[in-house]
C-alpha cells in the first residue's frame, strides 16, 4: 500500500513538474527566441484593430500585437530574472557572512544599511532613483534588485543562521575547512530549499515591480515592446481589442505561476501519508 502510495505521489509530483515546465516554457521560449522569428516591422495600421493580416490585431499605435509579443518578452523576462539573480548575488554573500561571522560589528555593518533600505517604500525608491538616473532596462533591473536585496538578505541570514548554528559547521571548522567551503558548500547548500522557495515568490514580486514601474513610466520607453508596458499602454483599448492586453498579461501570469509550480514540485518533500488500521 505504501509503496503504491509513494509511487503515486512520485508520479503526481512528476506530472506537476511537467505541468510547471510546460506552463513556464511558453513565455520563456517566446521571450528568448521570439525576436529571432520576426521580420521587418510592416507598415503601421490604425490602432486597436482586429484582422487585416494582424493575427492578434494591432496595438495602441497601430503595430502588430503578435510581433510586439514576440519582441516584448525578452526585456521583461531578462529584467525580472536578472533582478532576482542580482538581488541574490548581493544578498547571498551578505547574508552568509553575517550569519557565519562572530563579529557583531561586521554583522551590523552589513545588515544595518539594508534595514534602512527596507524602511524606504520600494516604489518611492524606484520613483526617485529612476528619475535621478533615468535608467534603461539594465538600470531598472539593478534598481529592482536593490529594492529586493534587504529582504532577500534577511531571508538568507535567517536560513543560513539556522544552519550555521548546527554542530556540523563546528565540525567542519574542526576539520580545518576553509570559510568558503563551509559557507557555500555546506551552509549555502543546506539553505537551498528555503532560498529556492523564496526565489520563486520573489521572482513574482520582481515581475510585479517591473510591470508597475512600466505603469509609472519608469525604466522603459512608453512605446517599448515589453509585455508589462503592453498591458499598461493597451488597456485603453481593452474593449475594442482585448488581445493586446490579455496575451501579454497571460504570458506574465504563466511565467510566474509556472516558475512557482516548478520550484514547488522540485522542492517538495516526500508527502506524508497517515497510517491506517486495516
Amino acid at each position: 500500500m505504501t509503496t503504491k502510495a509513494t509511487a503515486r505521489s512520485a508520479r503526481r509530483r512528476r506530472s506537476r513538474f511537467a505541468l510547471g515546465l510546460g506552463i513556464v516554457a511558453v513565455p520563456l521560449v517566446l521571450a528568448l527566441l521570439g525576436p529571432l522569428f520576426t521580420g521587418d516591422p510592416g507598415p503601421r495600421s490604425a490602432s486597436f484593430t482586429l484582422g487585416g493580416g494582424h493575427w492578434l490585431g494591432t496595438d495602441f499605435v497601430g503595430r502588430d500585437v503578435w510581433r510586439q509579443v514576440l519582441h516584448g518578452g525578452r526585456t521583461v523576462v531578462l529584467t525580472a530574472l536578472a533582478a532576482t539573480a542580482l538581488a541574490y548575488l548581493v544578498a547571498l554573500p551578505v547574508g552568509l557572512v553575517s550569519a557565519l561571522t562572530h563579529l557583531r560589528r561586521l554583522e551590523d555593518v552589513l545588515m544595518r544599511p539594508l534595514d534602512v533600505l527596507l524602511a524606504v517604500p520600494s516604489l518611492l525608491l524606484i520613483l526617485l532613483v529612476a528619475s535621478v538616473f533615468a535608467p534603461g532596462a539594465a538600470g531598472l533591473a539593478l534598481l529592482v534588485a536593490l529594492v529586493n536585496v534587504p529582504d532577500a538578505a534577511r531571508i538568507v541570514r535567517a536560513a543560513a543562521g539556522e544552519v550555521a548554528a548546527r554542530p556540523a559547521v563546528e565540525a567542519l571548522r574542526m576539520q580545518g575547512e576553509t570559510w568558503w567551503r563551509i559557507a557555500v558548500g555546506y551552509v549555502g547548500r543546506s539553505s537551498l530549499r528555503t532560498l529556492a522557495a523564496d526565489a520563486g515568490i520573489r521572482l513574482t514580486g520582481v515581475l510585479y515591480l517591473v510591470s508597475t514601474a512600466a505603469f509609472l513610466g519608469v525604466g522603459v520607453a512608453p512605446d517599448a515592446a515589453d509585455w508589462a508596458v503592453m498591458v499598461d499602454r493597451n488597456r485603453t483599448g481593452l474593449l475594442v481589442q482585448p488581445w493586446a492586453v490579455v496575451v501579454p498579461a497571460l504570458l506574465i501570469v504563466a511565467l510566474t505561476t509556472g516558475t512557482n509550480l516548478l520550484f514547488d514540485a522540485a522542492l517538495e518533500k516526500t508527502p506524508r501519508t497517515k497510517g491506517r488500521r486495516p
Partner: protein, 518 residues
C-alpha cells in the same frame, strides 16, 4: 465493578509492517493497573511502535494486524522522551491543561465551569509534584526546566484520568540524580493505581521500576516475566546478553604519573554573555591518559570541552598544549594545533552534512589537517571507518541512512583521522541504547590501549561511563568540586555533591524503587 487486576489494556498478536518489513511481530502484552510493565530492547527493537500501538497510533504507511484492546474507553497518557516536543510552544501551560479539563466540567452550569476546571488543573499539577501551580500556569513551556516540562506532561495524563501511561525513554541522557527523580515520579504514578508502560533501554531504571518486563528484539518479544525472575534467571540468550552488557565498564589503567602534561588548563573562567558559567583553577592531562569530566546538565562540562576545542572563545585563563598556550579560538589555531585537539559532538546526526556521503566527509580531515592528497585520504578514511566497524557499503551512505551508533563511530573516525593528541568526546554515548553504548565505550578503551600518544577527555553525566577514565573531574554549577584518580573519586568521594551523585547511581542499580531519589 472492575477487578483491580483486570488489564486496562491488552495487545494480542500485534504485527506492524512497513514496506513489507515487520517492525513489530506477534507481540502480546497486558497492562495491569498499578503495575509497571517495561519493554526492554535496543533501539529499533520495536518497543516504541508497541508502546504507541497501545495509544492507537501507528507509523505512517504501516499495515497493522492483530488486536489492541482497551478496557472501556480507558484514556491513556503518554510521556515522550523529549517532553518539550509535545508541549505547544505558543501556548501557556494553563491553556495546555485547560483544554483537557474543560470536557470534564461540561456537565456543570456555565458559570461554574471555569472555576471547576481551574480546580482540576491545580490538583493535577499538585499530583504531578508541581506545587507552585499558579505561577507555572502563566508560563510558556520554554520557560520551564526539562524536569518541569516532564511533570507538566505527566499532569496532562493525570488530568485526563489516564488509566495507563506510556513513558518512552524517560531517563535517556539524564544524569543519575535526575534519573532517580524520574523513577520516583513514575513509581508515584503507579502507586495511584495507574498502569505504567515503560519503554527503555536503561536497565537500571527498568530494574528499579518494573513489575513485568518484556524483552524485545527485532520486533519480537523474546522473553517476558517478572523483573526479579528475569534478572536472576534469564532464559533467553538475548536477555542474557543484554544483562551481561551491564557488567562494569573496563576500568582505566593506572594513570601514567610520569611525564609532563600534554594539556594543562589554568585559571579558566568561561562566560556566556554576562554570566560566568565555568571556573576551573587547574586541570592537567598526560599523554595516554583518559580524563572524565562529570556533572549534571548545565554544570559547565560541555563548556569546558568546547573551550579546549577552541569552540567557545568567551573565556579567560590559559589552555596549554605541551606548555604553549593554545589560541582561544580555533580560527587562530594553525593546522597542527587544530589537528592536535579534536572534538566529537554529542549529536552525531547534526554534526554531519546530510547531503554528502560519509566517506568523503570523513576523508576531508586528512586532506585539510594533514595535507594528504584526496586519493590517499579516502583510502585512509575507508580503513579507519572499517576499523571502527563501518566497512564497505556503510561508508558510502548518506548520514541520514545510518543509525545513531554508526554515526557516532563515523564521527570518531573523522576526528581520529587528524591523528589528534587529545580527543574530546562530549556525551557521545548519551542517547544510545545499552548495547550500542557498550560497543562504543569498548572501542574507546581499545583506542586508548593502542595509541599511547592519544589522550582522551570524556565528558559525561554518567558515572558508569566515567569508570573508563584514569582520572575524574567533577563539575557542579560551573565549579570544579573534585578531581582525582578515578578509583579514588568513585570509591572515596570527598565532595558532598560527588557523594550524592554516587549514591543516586547506586540506588538505581540496586533496583530499589522506594528508596530511589530520597
Amino acid at each position: 465493578m472492575r477487578n483491580s487486576t483486570d488489564p486496562v489494556a491488552e495487545i494480542r498478536d500485534l504485527r506492524v509492517e512497513i514496506d513489507g518489513r515487520a517492525i513489530v511481530d506477534g507481540v502480546r502484552l497486558r497492562v495491569r493497573p498499578g503495575k509497571v510493565t517495561a519493554l526492554v530492547g535496543a533501539s529499533g527493537s520495536g518497543k516504541t511502535t508497541t508502546g504507541l500501538a497501545l495509544l492507537g497510533e501507528y507509523p505512517p504507511g504501516a499495515t497493522v494486524t492483530g488486536e489492541v484492546l482497551r478496557a472501556g474507553d480507558a484514556p491513556a497518557g503518554y510521556v515522550p522522551q523529549h517532553p518539550a516536543a509535545v508541549l505547544n510552544p505558543a501556548r501557556r501551560v494553563s491553556a495546555l491543561l485547560d483544554d483537557l479539563a474543560r470536557p470534564q466540567v461540561r456537565h456543570l452550569p456555565r458559570s461554574e465551569r471555569r472555576g471547576a476546571a481551574r480546580e482540576l488543573v491545580l490538583r493535577a499539577l499538585a499530583d504531578a509534584q508541581l506545587p507552585d501551580g499558579e505561577v507555572l500556569l502563566r508560563r510558556h513551556p520554554h520557560q520551564l526546566s526539562g524536569g518541569q516540562q516532564q511533570r507538566v506532561v505527566l499532569a496532562q495524563a493525570l488530568l485526563l484520568g489516564a488509566r495507563f501511561v506510556v513513558a518512552d525513554e524517560p531517563t535517556t541522557g539524564q544524569d543519575a540524580l535526575t534519573k532517580s527523580r524520574i523513577v520516583q515520579q513514575l513509581a508515584a504514578v503507579a502507586a495511584r493505581g495507574i498502569a505504567v508502560v515503560l519503554l527503555s533501554h536503561d536497565l537500571d531504571v527498568v530494574r528499579a521500576l518494573a513489575d513485568e518486563v518484556l524483552v524485545m528484539r527485532d520486533g519480537r518479544v523474546v522473553e517476558s516475566g517478572p523483573v526479579r525472575r528475569l534478572w536472576s534467571a534469564p532464559r533467553h540468550e538475548w536477555t542474557r546478553r543484554l544483562l551481561d552488557e551491564r557488567r562494569p565498564v573496563p576500568e582505566g589503567g593506572t594513570s601514567p604519573d610520569a611525564g609532563p602534561p600534554v594539556l594543562e588548563v589554568r585559571d579558566l573562567v568561561a562566560a556566556h554573555g554576562r554570566s560566568t558559567v565555568l571556573r576551573v583553577p587547574r586541570i592537567t592531562l598526560r599523554a595516554g591518559e583518559c580524563l572524565a569530566v562529570v556533572g549534571r546538565s548545565g554544570s559547565g562540562k560541555t563548556t569546558l570541552a568546547r573551550c579546549l576545542a577552541g569552540l567557545h572563545r568567551d573565556h579567560r585563563g590559559e589552555i596549554l598544549l605541551d606548555g604553549t598556550a593554545l589560541p582561544r579560538s580555533l580560527r587562530h589555531r594553525d593546522r597542527a594545533r587544530l589537528a592536535a585537539v579534536q572534538y566529537v559532538f554529542q549529536d552525531a546526526r547534526a554534526a554531519f552534512d546530510e547531503h554528502r556521503a560519509m566517506l568523503g566527509q570523513v576523508a576531508r580531515t586528512a586532506v585539510r589537517l594533514r595535507g594528504v592528497d584526496e586519493h590517499t585520504a579516502v583510502r585512509e578514511a575507508s580503513a579507519m571507518l572499517g576499523r571502527l566497524g563501518l566497512a564497505g557499503d556503510l561508508a558510502h551512505r548518506l548520514p541520514g541512512e545510518l543509525s545513531g551508533g554508526e554515526l557516532q563511530r563515523a564521527a570518531l573516525a573523522r576526528a581520529l583521522l587528524a591523528r589528534p593528541r587529545i580527543l574530546v568526546c562530549d556525551e557521545i554515548t548519551s542517547g544510545l541504547d545499552t548495547v550500542t553504548r557498550r560497543a562504543l565505550l569498548d572501542l574507546l578503551a581499545g583506542l586508548l590501549g593502542e595509541r599511547d600518544d592519544l589522550s582522551l577527555v570524556l565528558v559525561t553525566h554518567d558515572l558508569d561511563t566515567a569508570r573508563l577514565a584514569d582520572r575524574i573531574a567533577v563539575l557542579d554549577a560551573g565549579d570544579l568540586v573534585e578531581q582525582g584518580p578515578a578509583q579514588q573519586v568513585l570509591t572515596a568521594p570527598r565532595h558532598p555533591f560527588t557523594v550524592s551523585l554516587l549514591e543516586a547511581t547506586a540506588h538505581l542499580s540496586s533496583g530499589n524503587r522506594s528508596r530511589a531519589g530520597t
